[in-house]
């Protein structure tokens, strides 16, 4: 928070209302409200693309389907038990194939014969990618197969809440052109991607904070601000942290 304030012309006291979102939302001691990333992505995308009815959020740890109607959150679905269909899967595969994460999407588009990747478990898919490599399959074909298989998995999950036009993709997955194209093929029509798909959730949180602050009014906000303290966000047990800032 101090870093954010240092890079802006704002002081902590000037902030009227703070919404925390994402996995760490419950560990933000100075937040006035916690809102899930599901609702925040919905609000952020709705402000950018009012016609979007379905959002597919592909993050580093999970992927989600979110349904919007008239700017309201009406349904959602998420997977978080398995790395398949998430950014982590692509990180592992990029590492195995020795390709930079930012390049895997573009290179997958160069494939003419996508490899058949049958297994969607991250660990087994890693083995399968290595096996294809040893068989002489090109990196591009393997990447295309990986993207196709993941798009299929994400599509099947989101289809359970019915995919309706327009569809937006958010999260780190939206920055992978190969995944976006594979999903478009599966869905059957083009999707929209926000200019900054990593922060549509933060945008939504800010919009919710703005609305809430307006509804509360200056007097209530002043009372809340007086109690608020800028404390460090703690995600780990501080006592077990080693002195030199390195984890053993």
């Amino acid at each position: 928070m101090r870093d954010v304030l240092a890079n802006s012309s704002l002081s902590f006291e000037e902030i009227d209302y703070i919404v925390a979102t994402g996995y760490g939302r419950i560990n933000v001691p100075f937040a006035d409200q916690q809102v899930t990333e599901i609702k925040c992505h919905m609000r952020g995308v709705h402000s950018l693309f009012p016609n979007v009815r379905t959002i597919i959020d592909i993050g580093g740890q999970d992927s989600k389907g979110i349904k919007v109607k008239d700017g309201r959150l009406v349904d959602f679905i998420m997977n978080d038990k398995c790395a398949a269909g998430t950014g982590r899967f692509f990180e592992v595969i990029a590492d195995v194939l020795g390709v930079k994460l930012e390049e895997i999407g573009q290179r997958s588009l160069l494939s003419e014969h996508p490899a058949n990747i049958s297994n969607l478990c991250t660990v087994f898919a890693e083995q399968e990618a290595l096996m294809r490599l040893s068989e002489g399959t090109s990196v591009e074909d393997i990447l295309a197969g990986i993207h196709k298989a993941n798009a299929c998995r994400i599509y099947t999950m989101v289809a359970r809440i019915k995919i309706e036009k327009d569809v937006a993709i958010t999260g780190g997955g939206a920055m992978n052109i190969g995944l976006v194209k594979a999903l478009e093929r599966k869905i059957g029509f083009p999707v929209v991607v926000a200019p900054e798909p990593l922060i549509t959730g933060a945008l939504g949180a800010a919009l919710i904070a703005g609305e809430t602050a307006a509804a509360l009014g200056p007097r209530k906000l002043e009372g809340m601000k007086e109690k608020r303290r800028l404390e460090a966000v703690t995600f780990f047990d501080q006592e077990s942290k080693p002195e030199h800032g390195k984890w053993h």
Binding site: Y23, I26, Q34, V35, T36, E37, I38, K39, R72, L73, V74, D75, F76, M78, D80, K81
Partner: protein
């Protein structure tokens, strides 16, 4: 035995936390203890012979290890967990075990319980999966065998009035639990879902008369205290049972108040009384087969899809109406086929009533609970919007 100074909710909490110690205390005072699996064994017969029925539960905090040598991992993890606790000696105070063919997993568990855990006395009740007259007659006959077996084990017959008195005591317990449910109708409810769960689990490990005393204390305490609950969206739970307060606490700290549970540790064992019939076992058989509404029993269906849904789930509409429910959580313990197969139709039915439904297939482990928080919180946000 529990600390006699504690009363009401504090006493329920203590027994919930120390079920084994409480049961062993009863045993030291000369009581016989029988464990029973699921909510189908007719515990009235145990009470009639002065045996304390203790409901067998699993433990979401204990990893399943020993049971996996005997039961396949594709089976319901609640059953595997309960059996695992048995293998680890946590139910070694049982004088007897009563299992049943409630569902396939319960049947397998019951049968191998006798082989591996070797409680001094074992029963397996064959419960039909339909509820028509021939099935009731068959089940009554099974209960007669059960009675004869119990009498032989104890060495005395059930006295003529003892069964009627036991049925009356358990019916009184059912009425008291329903009275407690009434206290969850106000908004916010006077009693949280977590408190309710602890009370129900406590009374499922006590002699019925002691359980009734506890229920009376809880009802009085809840009526007299200031309402401690916050106003939140009102949730009904349907599906597999929840037997750990960590789960209800997670739900209730995610913007939801649990107001009613159509589960096996909820309304199901308590919602209907056993009717007074000339042969008491007839009333017992009818009650368990026709009125304990677990989808393990197939009931008469209607002529078309809508009529069928209405006949099977109409009671949920009543629950939703009178408990002013805003949303439903369909809780599926992984591999609970009985409830899992119902999800598409029950979701369709409840959404048709305008009730949003959150379906979660969970791993029956407190270690994996926190990852569900976002789902419950987002579900609360869906209801609010």
């Amino acid at each position: 035995m529990s600390d006699d100074n504690k009363r009401g909710l504090a006493k329920a909490q203590e027994i919930y936390n120390n079920r084994g110690r409480y049961a062993r205390g009863l045993k030291e005072h000369g009581k016989k203890i029988f464990g029973y699996f699921c909510c189908y064994p007719p515990i009235e017969l145990l009470t009639a012979l002065d045996i304390v029925p203790v409901r067998i539960l699993g433990d979401m905090e204990e990893p399943v290890t020993l049971a996996d040598n005997c039961l396949p991992p594709v089976m319901c993890i609640f059953c595997r967990s309960a059996f695992d606790l048995g293998m680890k000696g946590q139910y070694d105070y049982f004088d007897g075990f009563v299992g049943s063919h409630a569902c396939d997993a319960a049947e397998r568990t019951s049968i191998i319980w006798a082989n591996y855990i070797k409680s001094p006395c074992n029963f397996h009740l064959d419960i039909p999966h339909t509820a028509h007259q021939a099935a009731v007659d068959f089940f009554r006959e099974q209960i007669e065998y059960f009675q004869a077996g119990l009498e032989e084990f104890v060495g005395e017959n059930i006295k003529p009035d003892a069964l009627k008195n036991a049925i009356a005591a358990h019916n009184h317990q059912r009425a008291l639990v329903r009275e407690l449910y009434e206290l969850r109708k106000p908004d916010p409810p006077l009693l949280s879902g977590t408190e309710m769960l602890k009370v129900l689990i406590a009374i499922m490990g006590m002699a019925v008369e002691d359980g009734n005393l506890l229920l009376n204390e809880v009802i009085q305490e809840v009526k007299e205290r200031d309402n401690v609950q916050e106003k939140k969206s009102r949730l009904m739970i349907w599906g597999s049972l929840i037997d750990n307060a960590a789960f209800t606490e997670l739900i209730e700290s995610s913007g939801l108040n649990i107001v009613i549970e159509d589960t096996a540790i909820g309304t199901r064992p308590f919602w209907h009384d056993i009717r007074d019939t000339e042969n008491p076992l007839q009333g017992v058989a009818e009650h368990y087969l026709q009125e304990v509404l677990c989808p393990r029993t197939f009931r008469d269906s209607g002529r078309n899809y809508n009529q069928d849904s209405e006949m099977r789930f109409g009671y949920l509409k009543e629950f939703a109406k009178y408990w002013k429910v805003n949303g439903v959580f369909a809780n599926i313990i992984r591999n609970c086929d009985v409830h899992g197969y119902e999800v598409p139709v029950i979701k369709d039915y409840l959404e048709g009533l305008g009730l949003p439904v959150l379906v979660i297939e969970q791993d029956y482990s407190t270690a994996s609970l926190q990852s569900l928080r976002t789902r419950f919180q987002a579900f609360a946000e869906t209801i609010e919007s």
